[in-house]
């Protein structure tokens, strides 16, 4: 399988790079989805049950056009870095000016290190190439030089891929934890039951990944389903993986309540928000109103209660968050603030998105909530993700949180390819 997989990957990347759409996809309204190529690739992987790699690990041959565009960007970075360094060396520089320049230099430092390594490697390759020209007859020498050349070029490719990755637009929010919200849509009680199934699926997936899964609220429905459920999931890179779950999940199965064995279709909508803290959203205490339930009477020593529910109102935006299931008022308040900050952060991010280029909002993971993203068909035992055209036939495993990585990895790869496309478009 290893050989086949590499072969498939190489072919895939070659096809991707040769596709003129890298530039022409910009003119179309939506970037071209390449579900057929990805489907074939991933179904092959699925049968070997291996998880899929991302661009940087593939080390494909980058197209000459892409390399040229990259080189232009790299030169621009080199120039900027040199210019900043000059400014910093001036004797009459002020403290604020110095720290501002230092901050920008720090951001560029990682790229600069890679660029310097790349330049050095390219110089080495030039040197080796000229050595080949100089002694075409010396067999042993030739062999040695060619061997070194091959190693150097492999390293060069790796550096180019790393640099490409560092140049691609990144979402800072990817590193954060998230707030997950699951809501039963059309389909009545059956939708509520499936909403609970999906919620538990994410809980198991989180545990498998070693993330912390804290239930924020569950609004139960009749038969052990839930109308709405939300959780705070914490860990490194949680949002980057779970953001693709935003959207409508459709389920086709025979409901437990159905006597005649007819298949019903219902829907559940999922929203994933990156966690934020009070600093991110510039939250001020003056903007908050905090209420607790007032027991009839004096409260305090007069009352023994386990009800420490807290309601936090953000006055400027009108957002209200109520939390009641923690065992202390302090913890209820902390959770409410966590959810409030995530909501405020999401509002701010949506606002910024509207201002950015349209290309970003068309990309995967942008969180169009009403997009139907996945169908779970129980009679046929399959789950299909419509964005990447991947189907898994292990529906029970998926609901146990076992195989979600199949979709997540494919979506991450799609995201990177879209990012490359937008990078090319912006040169």
């Amino acid at each position: 399988m290893g050989m086949n997989r590499r072969f498939l990957l190489k072919n895939l990347m070659r096809a991707v790079n040769q596709l003129d759409p890298l530039t022409s996809c910009v003119t179309a309204n939506r970037p071209i989805r390449r579900p057929i190529l990805l489907s074939a690739f991933y179904n092959a992987c699925l049968s070997a049950r291996r998880s899929c790699s991302t661009v940087a690990e593939l080390q494909p041959q980058l197209s000459p056009d892409l390399l040229k565009m990259m080189d232009q960007r790299l030169s621009a970075i080199e120039q900027r870095s040199a210019c900043l360094q000059n400014l910093m060396d001036r004797p009459d520089i002020s403290q604020t000016e110095y720290s501002r320049i230092n901050k920008e230099l720090r951001k560029l430092r990682e790229s600069m290190e890679l660029i310097n390594e790349l330049r050095a490697k390219q110089k080495e390759i030039d040197g080796l190439n000229s050595m080949v020209k100089e002694c075409p007859d010396d067999r042993d020498m030739l062999d040695m030089v060619n061997e070194e050349l091959r190693q150097a070029m492999t390293k060069e490719k790796r550096l180019q891929n790393s640099l490409l990755k560092s140049l691609l637009p990144k979402d800072d929010a990817d590193e954060r934890g998230c707030i997950l919200e699951v809501r039963a849509g059309t389909g009545g009680e059956e939708a509520s039951l499936f909403a609970m199934d999906i919620f538990r699926m994410y809980e198991r997936y989180s545990h498998k990944k070693g993330w912390k899964f804290e239930v924020v609220d569950i609004m139960e429905s009749g038969l052990k389903g839930c109308k709405e459920a939300s959780a705070a999931i914490s860990g490194a890179g949680v949002y980057g993986k779970l953001k693709f779950e935003s959207g409508v999940h459709r389920v086709q199965r025979v409901p437990v309540t159905e006597k005649s064995g007819r298949i019903h279709t219902s829907a559940v909508s999922v929203a994933v928000l990156p966690q934020a803290d009070q600093v991110d959203v510039h939250l001020r205490n003056e903007d908050l109103r905090i209420d607790t339930y007032r027991a009839g009477g004096a409260g305090g020593q007069h009352v023994n209660t386990t009800n420490s529910a807290v309601r936090v109102t953000h006055i400027p935006s009108g957002i209200i968050v109520s939390i009641q299931d923690e065992r202390s008022q302090h913890m209820n308040k902390a959770k409410a603030l966590k959810v409030l900050c995530a909501k405020l952060y999401e509002i701010e991010r949506s606002r910024i998105d509207l201002e950015r280029s349209k290309l970003r909002s068309d990309q995967i993971g942008s969180g169009d909530r009403s997009e139907r993203i996945r169908t779970y068909n129980f009679p046929q035992g399959r789950v299909t993700d419509h964005r990447v055209g991947i189907t898994s036939h292990a529906i029970d495993d998926i609901l146990m949180g076992e195989d979600l990585d199949v979709f997540v990895d494919a979506l991450l790869l799609q995201q990177e390819m879209d990012a490359i496309a937008s990078f090319s478009a912006n040169q």
């Binding site: 009839g296 409260g299 209660t305 386990t306 202390s328 913890m331």
Partner: protein, 382 residues
């Protein structure tokens, strides 16, 4: 067990007689109980190697060793019975004396299960019905009969939930509590926020001696010590020897024995050595008017210590006593905070300070809690 459930637990009397036969029905075989010395469960908690000679503090449920192997089906039976019992209460307690209703009791039941179950098991397993669950066993931190007994106490005797599980979650702490110690109230959490605000802008106060008078479980003392961040010291006092033991235990559990000193005695008497030196003096003294004590919610009136509740006529006795002594205890610029019954008492204290101790305090004000009640009085020593 089926009989018990089908009765629907509608009539409490019937259930009582039913329970008499229950204990013989569900007692687990002796070989299931692994024998462990009693001292083990508390000795693991102390940093020193030997446990104290007299242990008049009880080990809370969540800290005990999960050594009671119990079939899941037994646990499910208990949970189902307990849920029905909670549901049968409806709003009767609420109406009679502002007690808990069924939904609060159901949530408490969930927490009781959480505390009783071994750590690495998901409590929601209780809801999984299946062929396999009957064969599976879990380890509980107390016997299943004890769980029946505890829940009966909760519903029949209105024994407070916090005494049942032996702990109270307060702020970001879990404090051990037992009969004889006042259960820390959610409102009191705010005192720590007030302290934190004051020391954030005042390094001198952060590094000084603080006192928590009538510490009970040690809640305010521990919260204050953590706010001081290792810079200052806290002296916690209480008249009750039980409170002193429990507070000491909690202090030790949070590793604060170098920062918080617990002393037994009445109000200012144990504090003669720091007279005039305190950077801060905080207290949640008993403030319920004596005439209100008989009509209190059953959980409070029947089970919590009167010593921690009764404030005399108007509930003002101890509040005024503390105001009188604060001036001589605090150093210049020292911070003073009291919790009260609400608006009336707060205003009385502010008036008293203005009239009888004019020029001693500045910036005296009443601060509301999250329910909008003017519950706290704060001031600075001139």
């Amino acid at each position: 067990m089926e009989e018990l459930n089908s009765h629907g637990t509608r009539q409490m009397k019937v259930r009582l007689t039913g329970f008499g036969g229950l204990s013989t029905f569900i007692r687990p075989p002796l070989h299931r109980l692994k024998s462990t010395p009693c001292a083990l469960s508390s000795s693991v908690l102390f940093s020193s190697s030997s446990p104290p000679a007299s242990q008049s503090h009880q080990v809370p449920l969540f800290l005990r060793v999960p050594k009671y192997a119990t079939p899941v089906s037994d646990l499910q039976k208990w949970y189902s019975w307990a849920s029905d019992l909670a549901a049968s209460v409806g709003s009767t307690f609420l109406v009679s004396d502002n007690g808990p209703d069924s939904s609060l009791l159901c949530r408490e039941l969930r927490w009781l299960l959480e505390d009783a179950l071994q750590e690495d098991i998901d409590p929601s397993l209780i809801h999984q019905v299946g062929v396999n669950s009957a064969q599976r066993e879990v380890n509980l931190k107390t016997g299943i009969e004890d769980l029946y007994k505890l829940w009966i106490q909760r519903i029949e005797e209105r024994r407070p939930f916090q005494y049942i599980v032996g702990c109270e979650h307060w702020r970001d702490l879990v404090l051990c509590v037992q009969e004889g110690v006042l259960i820390p109230r959610p409102e009191t959490e705010i005192i720590i926020d007030l302290v934190a605000d004051v020391i954030s802008s005042n390094r001198g106060l952060k590094e000084g001696f603080w006192a928590d008078l009538g510490t009970g479980s040690g809640a305010i003392a521990i919260g204050t010590a953590r706010a001081l961040g290792g810079c200052g010291n806290v002296i916690a006092t209480d008249l009750s020897p039980v409170a002193v033991k429990v507070a000491s235990f909690n202090v030790q559990r949070y590793g604060l024995q170098g920062v918080v000193e617990v002393r037994e005695g009445s109000w200012f008497e144990p504090l003669k050595d720091v007279q005039g030196k305190l950077a801060g003096l905080v207290s949640n003294p008993p403030y319920i008017p004596s005439e209100n004590i008989p009509g209190l919610q059953a959980e409070v009136g029947r089970h919590e210590p009167k010593l921690a509740l009764d404030g005399g006529v108007d509930g003002m006795d101890h509040l005024l006593h503390l105001c009188q002594g604060a001036a001589s205890m605090l150093r210049t610029g020292g911070f003073f905070a009291l919790e009260t019954n609400g608006e009336k008492q707060s205003k009385l204290i502010l008036d008293y300070m203005e009239k009888e101790h004019r020029g001693t305090f500045y910036n005296a004000k009443a601060v509301p809690d999250f329910a909008g009640v003017l519950r706290f009085v704060t001031a600075f020593r001139v």
